[in-house]
Symmetry: C2
């Protein structure tokens, strides 16, 4: 009918993307031959391969990875979920992850949860929807329910966690030793003669923050220092949280002489308040953050902090994923890689100048 014909003509007009079929027609071959030629199948003659590749170029052929993924059941896409993109730690992790994965033919689909559980779930759903081969994630602050993460695994999609992970989830994990980090910090403050050390903590339902608190407690005890429960305050660790909590701490009958914040942004907020109140840092109150965000070396005073090995974490997470993919069924034993933290000592905690 005319309808059919018109449709076909229209299609030809609209068509902008050339397909494997177009190449086949142009060369008098079949799509399957072209497909094989393009993927360098051994049983295709060199002449044909050459011709196909040349034609692909002249037709500006772009392989449709979607259909290939559909057919092969493998998308070569890896979803990455991070709390927020605007953090040196996370962006550096992703950059390094991308490098490793790209080298192995994978592409990254990056999404941010903004620390929100809902957003995280939506991200997981859309990543699963586009059939990613794996998801590498650091959990949102808000997240306590692990159903969605279990869903990933139940769909047969690889899952690797980094930084913020949960032990209950039976998956590969890369992070630093949070417990030990606290020890490094407290030992250092102890050497500076601090005796009343406050802790601006993260939420206790998140393992890394729990570990930091536990390390803080144990280290204080080890150093023979008292633990002031009123000086341990949980929060989201944003700048405004740091500000608010610092103000609270200053209102205490006995002020702390040092503050250890479990995040650099919180430390920064605390520093702002201390400066506003004309309290000398570190002389009156010493301050330590966590993550080595760039601004910690720019503020005045510069802020002592913990280096979290972002580059290593990114690479190792990517490699963990690649290994899983290579042995999908193979019961490789779980990888829990714990890297060494490094204390970067700066002005904000140096009471006794050397």
């Amino acid at each position: 009918m005319f309808n059919r014909l018109n449709k076909y003509i229209k299609k030809l007009e609209i068509k902008k993307k050339s397909t494997i079929k177009d190449i086949a027609i142009a060369l008098g071959l079949t799509p399957s031959a072209v497909s094989k030629a393009l993927s360098n199948h051994p049983r295709i003659s060199d002449k044909t391969k050459e011709a196909v590749k040349k034609m692909a170029l002249t037709l500006d052929y772009q392989p449709n990875t979607l259909s290939s993924a559909l057919r092969k059941g493998k998308s070569n896409l890896v979803g990455v979920i991070i709390p927020r993109v605007n953090s040196n730690f996370f962006s550096s992790v992703v950059e390094n992850m991308e490098e490793v994965l790209n080298a192995h033919g994978y592409n990254i689909v990056m999404t941010q949860s903004n620390e929100l559980y809902d957003k995280e779930c939506k991200s997981i759903d859309s990543l699963l929807g586009i059939q990613v081969d794996g998801i590498i994630a650091s959990m949102a602050n808000e997240t306590t329910c692990l159903d969605y993460y279990n869903k990933i695994k139940s769909k047969g999609v690889q899952l690797v966690l980094f930084d913020r992970g949960e032990d209950e989830l039976d998956v590969d994990y890369i992070g630093i030793d949070d417990y030990k980090s606290s020890h490094l910090i407290i030992d250092h403050l102890h050497l500076q003669n601090c005796k009343k050390i406050a802790h601006i903590a993260g939420f206790n339902h998140i393992r890394i923050y729990k570990d930091r608190v536990q390390g803080y407690r144990d280290a204080l005890e080890k150093c023979g220092l008292p633990i002031y429960e009123e000086m341990i305050i949980e929060s989201n660790l944003r700048i405004e949280d740091g500000r608010r909590i610092m103000k609270e701490l200053l209102k205490l009958p006995e002020r702390p002489d040092a503050v250890y914040a479990a995040g650099d942004y919180a430390a920064l907020g605390a520093l702002q308040v201390l400066k506003e109140e004309n309290i000398k840092v570190p002389e009156e109150i010493a301050l330590i953050g966590f993550s080595n965000e760039p601004f910690t070396s720019l503020s005045s005073p510069t802020i002592t902090t913990i280096n979290q090995q972002s580059a290593q974490i990114g690479k190792l997470a990517a490699e963990a994923f690649l290994e899983r993919v290579k042995n999908p069924k193979g019961r490789i034993h779980l990888k829990k890689i714990i890297l060494e933290p490094e204390l970067i000592i700066r002005e904000s905690s140096q009471k006794n100048d050397l």
Copy 2:
């Protein structure tokens, strides 16, 4: 044959993801009915819809957006290419873009070029490969060749540029008025009695940096100030570039009394050098950056800079894309949205205290 049968059994075992077909079988329907039910087709009974949706839940059905995209020729994916993710400006742009696009059923695939042309090309290829409906990009510093961007358009994929765009590319663009930004800066410095104003510029092949230089020149002239050619130096605007160039400027027989850097990171590098050399900012040399990165309000002195309206840019870029998609053929006239820049005056440029 046994082969066939075994294969089928294996498939059933392996199968982890349920499909539309599984739902259909479970309910004694056909896939097409299920498809329609899930998309709320009007000619499907409410009972069926309900049953289907319930079964979808119990089977933990996850729509395969790949196959749907393949069939519909529409992926509802938007590619976003930015130079680097670790910049407040870009991450804020993306965040706002995402908000708008998600609300319209689109997902974002974010890639970073790291300012490299090669990486940018690869990103474009893989985005086209996964059949994105559109690409929203800010060009890499290195990029001078526009072939790849033209390729996007020739494939019928929507293209919107922001911040770093080129006039030759006939596409929607959102950015701020760079020329005017320079005027705001020079006028302000002129009021502070600066007479020898240096410019740490971006590369001249990028339009926004060219505009900033031109604005700088014209504004100087307008103010009756001399233009010192040796005080205009191009670079990548990284911290280390700022450091290097600042050192060069200090070696000049006649030192500048103000420095306008076309990027905050470069300004920061310059500030570091000035502090190391014990040169007072702003008394001896005033300093102004560009982009309002968070650290500009944290350094000491705080750095005067330009607010680039990242939130607006993100939203408007997303909306521009959405409009194009709604009228794919409709010859909407090109959108070139130029937002007003805002000078944020801080300590680094306030010679005369108020």
